[in-house]
Amino acid sequence: MTALGILTQVTLMLVGGAYVLAVADRLMGGSSTGVRSALSYPVRRLSFLFLQPMSTTERPDFAVWILAPALLAALAAVGAVAVPIAGPSPGGDIAAGLVLFGAAMLVVLVAVFMFGWAPNSVFPMIGGFRFAAMVLSIGIPFSLVVLTTAIPAESLSVGVIVEAQSDLWFVLVQPLGLVIYLITAAAIAFWGPFDLPEGSDLAGGIVAESSGARLAMWRFGRAALMVTVSLMGQAVFLGGYLGPVLPGWLWTLVKTAVLLILLALTGRTMARMRIQRFVWFGWVVLLPLALVDVFLSGWLAL
């Protein structure tokens, strides 16, 4: 596939996925205005934000403030490139695709920290520091469970990992892996119960000073990040494009949408976790569980 083709495909995936997530989130949020209203909600909200003036603060770092949302969306796109969508690519896909995804997801920390730091304001900066604490606590379990799927497939290429699931999806071999993956991925996308960097307890946190097009771009970047983690989650745990009857790309889309809706549901139904408890949870619960998952999968693969 040409570079332009890949770019178009990834852009369509991210925009479409962000739409699905926004609609699902709106429906889960208990809006009583009905499905039809929820379907048009993302467009209405986006047009509202683009018409809203962009507020500013005293001596912000403008370049960083503009670059951070762009970096967030770009990292989502880089992570999504590693996942084959329609079927095995003829030239083989990126050999270390899983590591590319992991690297892109951990650089999200830089984007969020910069976005919190740029406005020269206290609540956004506390949000940025909170996210640093979060990512340092769950970064290792996240990387471990993603890399664990490479053990049975004996490859870091996502295409090979999908092919290795032709008999049995990895979610059945290592269900613990998917659970840890979804928890840590939601935290990396600061979504749901883990939206600590921009929680209402921080008066909006990193987005407290953002409005208008800037806020719209940031919201899109976060939604795109959710799409990328769902896309990778379905590829390494739910068999990716493999499935009967339907064409491969449709299976990818369906499975990605299922994970997105699941994450939207948990985001709306579970209470926000306090940062102290979250850090404890990451180091004391998730990290040992991820190590257990690694040992189990290694043992099963031998």
Binding site: V99, L100, G102, L106, V107, M114, W117, A132, L156, Q276
Partner: protein
């Protein structure tokens, strides 16, 4: 895969980017930006590794640096008497010493680059990641494993020292303000 003109062009671009962002580390006026310019430099070096077919090494470098540079920025901000690193500040000090150290290390490295005999053999055609794994767990296993265990011990020790939950229980339970009427010694 033999390197084509595209590889040379990309390596040159990333090399220049690495040097320029390394220079910007000292030209910027804030610790956070300095840390992230340094990270940009590492990302450029990682990209150079990816271009020379060492995908795994290059990407792992970028992966590690994102967390490390943020930790570095947080520590620099913590140790500076500068509210959250928001005030502009000069990033260079001890000019004479640093100029001498910079020129000296440049000359030393350039001399090594000119004199040293670099291996001429091309990379093995097999997956470079496999080669790296065999190196790590093959003949160099003792070195890497001892370094790994030592680092692990340091990490566990650091966490044990920094943990909020000490031998007096959870720090949040113990943080009770003292009584107002503290016995004040007469300031004679």
């Amino acid at each position: 895969m033999s390197p084509g003109p595209l590889s040379y062009a990309l390596i040159s671009i990333f090399g220049i980017a690495a040097v320029v962002s390394g220079w910007l580390v000292f030209r910027t006026d804030s610790m956070l930006k300095a840390a992230y310019w340094l990270m940009g430099s590492f990302v450029a070096v990682g990209s150079m590794l990816v271009v020379v077919d060492a995908q795994f090494l290059g990407l792992i470098l970028i992966l590690m640096m994102s967390g490390e540079m943020t930790i570095m920025a947080i520590f620099m901000i913590m140790f500076m008497m500068n509210p959250a690193g928001l005030n502009p500040m000069v990033m260079v000090h001890q000019h004479r010493t640093s100029i001498m150290a910079g020129v000296g290390s440049f000359l030393l490295l350039a001399w090594v680059g000119l004199v040293a005999e670099f291996p001429d053999r091309p990379a093995p055609s097999a997956d470079p990641t496999v080669g790296l794994g065999e190196e790590l767990l093959g003949r160099s296993m003792l070195i890497f494993e001892s370094a790994g265990v030592a680092l692990l011990a340091v990490m566990i020790g650091a966490i044990a020292l920094a943990a909020k939950r000490g031998r007096f229980g959870d720090a949040y339970d113990g943080s009770i303000e003292p009584d107002i009427d503290i016995e004040v010694e007469s300031a004679a």
